[in-house]
Structures are given as structure tokens and as C-alpha cells.
């Protein structure tokens, strides 16, 4: 019996080995014609090469920005084909899953391989820049070419005075209220809180009516929890010169606010470790969340309740979180001019319109924001990008998050005061940057 099973498996094994050999050997052919998106305009390239001075090919890595049903694949094919016909440079576009993208990019770059152009967000950019993995594109981009971008997007794509990225998308988070709860609380949607004090008063009212006032996903990114309050209070975490600011009095105010929200029950009980409060929010048990375009489009599609968007809150300053997505060039690219040209090309006004219309992110150029002329909610959020800070722009930006998060969690568990949490966060950050 056992031997007969071995014989059957042996046959299957042989068939598989032969098939694998055939497929693996033929893979080179599929690579050249079908690597997600490639273009091949043949002889027409030589004329454009002469006019642009560019030639060769580049590999571009980006990620799935949508669920694939809105024409994202076709968009990249068109971008690649148009760029090739304009410049003569062939584009090999490869769509890389979001999962483990840091490891994938770093492995390929460390091995001297990988893409010429790839996508990063602001907390990756300085880390890559410090390790000299990405291209300083200042020499390829003029001030005039950068002038059409929203200033916060340019701030997020540069590090220590050098331009590393070309921003293609932006988000801006703002308070998205459940209108039905507002009506029940007797609050006019045209006079929503603009300051911390007004928000606290509304939170108290919501709590008394049996609702949570706000979402606090304490197990998630600080970009959506502490940082917006920290910036609104006039504080910051660290600056480019490594001065630690997180335990300054203005910063401590944000720790105090979060502690107050938790102890008074304005945020859900699982806020210490929660990753999101979608079920509470979509289930109509939560008054407001910090929402972005994605949340708004989800609300519009699913219609769980009517909603209204209010501007970001203000304490000392009116600020919120909003990420910036950018394309950067590899420092080891064999074709840096073409890489920089592609980054400029894909972020020009027309392509930003196409890209952001499909992905429903906010363009980083003011003149491309007209895509939201018929989408009032998105237009409203697009107007808030001027207040949107893209996280902590620092090589240790990502590593700082878990250490601060742990101190906030200990604070919410009642083990330390807001001042102690801020001081311990500062100590931990100091250890990180001086290790």
C-alpha cells in the first residue's frame, strides 16, 4: 500500500518537475512581454530619444491603490506607453503587494537590484535618504517645476534641504460626524466644534446620551491618534537636529487630552489596544472619527448614516494628519535621468487628475483638484491639505512610534501620569537616536 502510494507520487512528481522546467525556462519570454505592464514601441523610440536625450528602460514599482475594479491596471499601461512615446524610455511597471514592502525594497536595493522608481510615504523617505538608498533629484527638478505643488506635499518629500520625492497623492484627515447622533444631541451641523474646549463639551454631551464621542485606535499608528492633537497643541516629537520636543509643556497637553478622553469614557474602553473602531462607527455608536477620503467614500457607498465633515480642530494651531505618497528614484539606478523624468511625468497635472480620480486620493497639485468639482465631500477634504502634516519626518520616525505608544498605553492603564508618559517617551526616543 505504502509503496504503491510512493509510486503514484513519484509519477506526479516527474510530471510536475517537467512542467516546472518548461514553465521556468519559458519565463524569460513572459517576463519580456508581460511583466505586469511593459511597453514596446520599437523603432519610433529612436526619434524621441534624439529629441529628449533619454533612452534605455526603467523599472517602476508601485502598489495596488484600489481594489482593482476602477481601471488602475489600464491607467498604468497608458502611463507607461505614453511616457515611452514621449521620451523613448521603456517602462517596466510592476505592481508589488503592500505586505512587507519595506523588506522587499530594501532587500532588492541592498543586493544592487530592484526598481529605478518606487513608491514611499514620508516616514520611509528620510530613513532611505540617510542610508543613501534614494536619489537626490534636486539636480533634475527646477523650482518652477515644484511651484505648482501644495507646500505641505513638498515639505513631506524633502529632507535636509534636498528634494527626494515627487508627490502624487495626499490625504487629509478631518472630523467626520454621524449626523443622526448630532440631531439627537440637538447640535447644529453648521456650528460644530472648532476648538478643543468646544469638542470636549460636545463629547460630554454624547457620553451622557450613551454614545462614544471619538475613536482612538491605540494599537494603531500614532499618526491617527496622538500626533494630530500634539501638533494642534503646538508641540512636536523631534526636529531635524534631533532636539526632542515630546515632553515640552505644549506636547504634554496632548497626552493630558487623551488621558481625559479615556478616563471620562469619551472614547471606547478598548482604546488602549484597538486597531480601529469601524464596527462601532459604522454601527452608529460613535459620534465622530478622524476620516480621510477613503472613509468618506466608504460612507457614501454603504450609506450607514448621514454624515457631515468639520474642519480639523484647533488649539494653538489648526493641524491634522495627512499622508503624502511620492515616487522616489533608486540611488543605484543605471538610468537616473529617465527615472527622474518619469517621476515628473507621472506627477504632472494631467496624470495626477487621472491617478487621483481613479484612486480617490487628493492631488498634490492645486490645479488638479478640480477632479472633485462634483464631489463636495472630497472637495472639502482637499481644502484641508494645507493643514495636513505627514507624520514625523525623521529617519527614526517609524521606530519612535512603538516606544511612545507603549508609554501612552501605560498612561491609559493608570500606571503613570501624562507628564510621566511624555518624559518616558522622551527618554526612549533619546536612546533610539543615540544608540
Amino acid at each position: 500500500m505504502s509503496i504503491s502510494i510512493f509510486k503514484k507520487f513519484g509519477l506526479l512528481f516527474l510530471v510536475l518537475v517537467l512542467s516546472a522546467v518548461m514553465v521556468a525556462c519559458s519565463d524569460d519570454e513572459t517576463n519580456s512581454t508581460d511583466t505586469n505592464t511593459t511597453t514596446d514601441n520599437g523603432s519610433a523610440n529612436s526619434e524621441t530619444e534624439e529629441s529628449t536625450g533619454l533612452s534605455g528602460e526603467i523599472t517602476v514599482w508601485a502598489h495596488p491603490y484600489t481594489d482593482g475594479t476602477t481601471g488602475e491596471g489600464d491607467m498604468w499601461k497608458t502611463f507607461a506607453a505614453d511616457f515611452e512615446s514621449e521620451t523613448g524610455v521603456k517602462v517596466n511597471f510592476e505592481q508589488i503587494p503592500w505586505a512587507n514592502r519595506d523588506q522587499k525594497i530594501l532587500t532588492a536595493l541592498a543586493a544592487g537590484q530592484g526598481p529605478d522608481v518606487f513608491y514611499v510615504i514620508p516616514d520611509q523617505m528620510p530613513q532611505y535618504a540617510e542610508q543613501q538608498l534614494i536619489l537626490d533629484i534636486s539636480q533634475y527638478v527646477t523650482d518652477e517645476e515644484l511651484s505648482g505643488f501644495v507646500p505641505t506635499a513638498i515639505e513631506a518629500t524633502s529632507w535636509k534641504g534636498k528634494q527626494y520625492g515627487m508627490p502624487i497623492l495626499q490625504t487629509a484627515e478631518s472630523l467626520v460626524y454621524n449626523k443622526e447622533i448630532l440631531t439627537e444631541l440637538g447640535v447644529d451641523e453648521n456650528s460644530l466644534p472648532t476648538t478643543w474646549d468646544e469638542f470636549k463639551a460636545l463629547a460630554e454631551k454624547a457620553k451622557a446620551a450613551g454614545y462614544y464621542a471619538f475613536s482612538y485606535a491605540g494599537g494603531g499608528s500614532l499618526n491617527n491618534t496622538l500626533y494630530p492633537f500634539l501638533w494642534q497643541a503646538g508641540g512636536n516629537v523631534i526636529d531635524e537636529s534631533n532636539n526632542i520636543l515630546i515632553n515640552k509643556p505644549e506636547a504634554v497637553k496632548s497626552f493630558e487630552l487623551i488621558n481625559e478622553m479615556y478616563t471620562k469614557g469619551w472614547i471606547p474602553q478598548d482604546s488602549i489596544t484597538a486597531l480601529d473602531h469601524d464596527s462601532l462607527y459604522f454601527g452608529g455608536k460613535l459620534l465622530a472619527v478622524n476620516g480621510s477620503g477613503i472613509s468618506v467614500n466608504r460612507l457614501l457607498a454603504e450609506k450607514p448614516f448621514d454624515f457631515v465633515i468639520a474642519p480639523p480642530l484647533k488649539d494653538a494651531e489648526q493641524l491634522t494628519y495627512g499622508t503624502v505618497g511620492m515616487f522616489v528614484g533608486s540611488a543605484i539606478s543605471k538610468n537616473p535621468e529617465a527615472a527622474a523624468e518619469f517621476m515628473k511625468y507621472v506627477t504632472n497635472t494631467e496624470n495626477q487628475r487621472t491617478f487621483n480620480n481613479i484612486t480617490q486620493y487628493i492631488p498634490t497639485r492645486d490645479d488638479a483638484k478640480d477632479i472633485f468639482d462634483s464631489q463636495p465631500y472630497m472637495a472639502q477634504l482637499a481644502g484641508y491639505t494645507q493643514y495636513a502634516k505627514p507624520g514625523i519626518i525623521h529617519p527614526e520616525g517609524r521606530n519612535i512610534m512603538p516606544v511612545v505608544q507603549a508609554e501612552i498605553q501605560a498612561m491609559l492603564e493608570g500606571k503613570q501620569s501624562p507628564q510621566e508618559a511624555a518624559d518616558k517617551s522622551a527618554e526612549a526616543i533619546d536612546k533610539l537616536i543615540n544608540k
Partner: protein
Amino acid sequence: MKKVISYTALAILAIVFIMPFIIMVFGSLKEVKQAQIDPLFWLPTNPSIQNYITIFSNGIFLRWIWNSIVITVIPVMTQMIFAALLGYIFAKKQFWGKEAIFWTFMAVIMIPQQLFIIPKYIMFADFGWINTYWALIVPELWAIMGVFLVRQFLQGIPKDLEEAAYIDGANDWQIFFKIILPLSFPVVATVGTFAFISNWNDLFQPLIYLTNEKMFPVTVGLASMLGKEGNFGVEMAGATISFIPTFLIFIFFQRYFTEGITMSGIK
């Protein structure tokens, strides 16, 4: 009374273990809206196969399945063969440096695999193996853990069996194929099951070595279909599809697997 307590405890444990499976299957039948409102509430109000349609309507999903089969079945087969052969040699044969060689191999598994990723990437790039099956098949052709399991098992088999066969005139190959292999089938099947689960579910290595979506296995293919915000229903449908082959393999080998686990000393 004792029985009631133990059955109750076992029933609770069974529920705890089966709950993620139920959430996965029922979650795959949920519409997006319900999945968002309460992802862990397990009964879909309007069951729908839309999430499966979304996955299968992707033109190259079947190619991903085929890729997964190739990069899984070949290593499973070779790992079973090498585990049986090498396990037999390390358990029963005497040669100079046997223990040193074996424990040197064993020491390699104590090094975190992440440390090998960049050197392997450089090597595979030099070989032209990036975006091919070779990068995923060749390093998995044999695994010392399988050899260890078979060796442990065979060390428990009395030498008399081999000696009797020698007296009857059998040579080494005959002893291996006629005596050792049939006896060690349960543990070899266990090695195969472990290898199948590990290779079929591997996301990290294919993610690192592959960029061409035509070469993606199911794990990476499904990940590449998910936008930044994810989609609970599609994720669960993907997990369910991906789970079926592992489940079938386990059902097929269950008897041998249980025996193998017991006899090789894994507890």
C-alpha cells in the same frame, strides 16, 4: 462528574479552535457593508459568493494556483525522499564524522532565516533566478528538520530487522525500499505534510524574489489584489480558497500524520 468536566473543557477548546475557521468561511460570504460593521459577527445576513467571483474574475488566478502547486509539490516530494534517505543514513549507518555533519546541519536552522535573505537575493540575481520558480524550489529541495524526524524514528527500530534482511541476502537499497521505507511511511508523510503547509502558505520568500505577477503563488497574488485599506470579505475568501488544499492534504494523510507525530517523538 470528572467526565462532564473534561468533556466541557474539551468542547470549549474545540469551539475556541474552530471559531477562526468559522469566521473565515462565513466572512468570505459577507457583503462589504456587513464585514465593515461587524467583521467578527459570524452569520452573514445576505450570504453572497461575490468575494469568490471577485477573486476568480482576476484573469490569472488559476495561474497563481498552478504556481503554488509547482513551488509546493516539488519540494514536498524531494523533502520526503531526502528525509527518508538521509534519515536512514544518519540513523543506521556508521561513517566518520557522522554526528558532526548531522549537528552542523541542525545548527543551520538555529540561524534566523531573515539573515540569509540578502545573500540569497544576490546569489539568485547572479544566477538569473529572480522571477523564476528556481528561487523558491531549489532552497526548499531538502530540509534538515525532516531528516531529523526520520532519524529519530528510525533510531527506535531494532537493528535485528536489518540484520535478518542481510542474512537473507538483501543489499542496502533493498533493505531501504523493502523494510525501512514502508516502516517509516507515517513519519515521512508527516514530513511531507509539514513541508506542504510551510511552502503553500509561504508569503515572505515569494514576495521578496518575485515581481512578475504571472509568477506569483496564491499567497502573493491575493495580497496583490488588496488595496491599502484591505477588504475583509475578499481576504477571507482568499484564505478559504488557500486553505482547501492544505485541508485535503491533512485529511488524506491524517492517519499517517498522527502516527508519525507519535512515533517521531514530537509531542
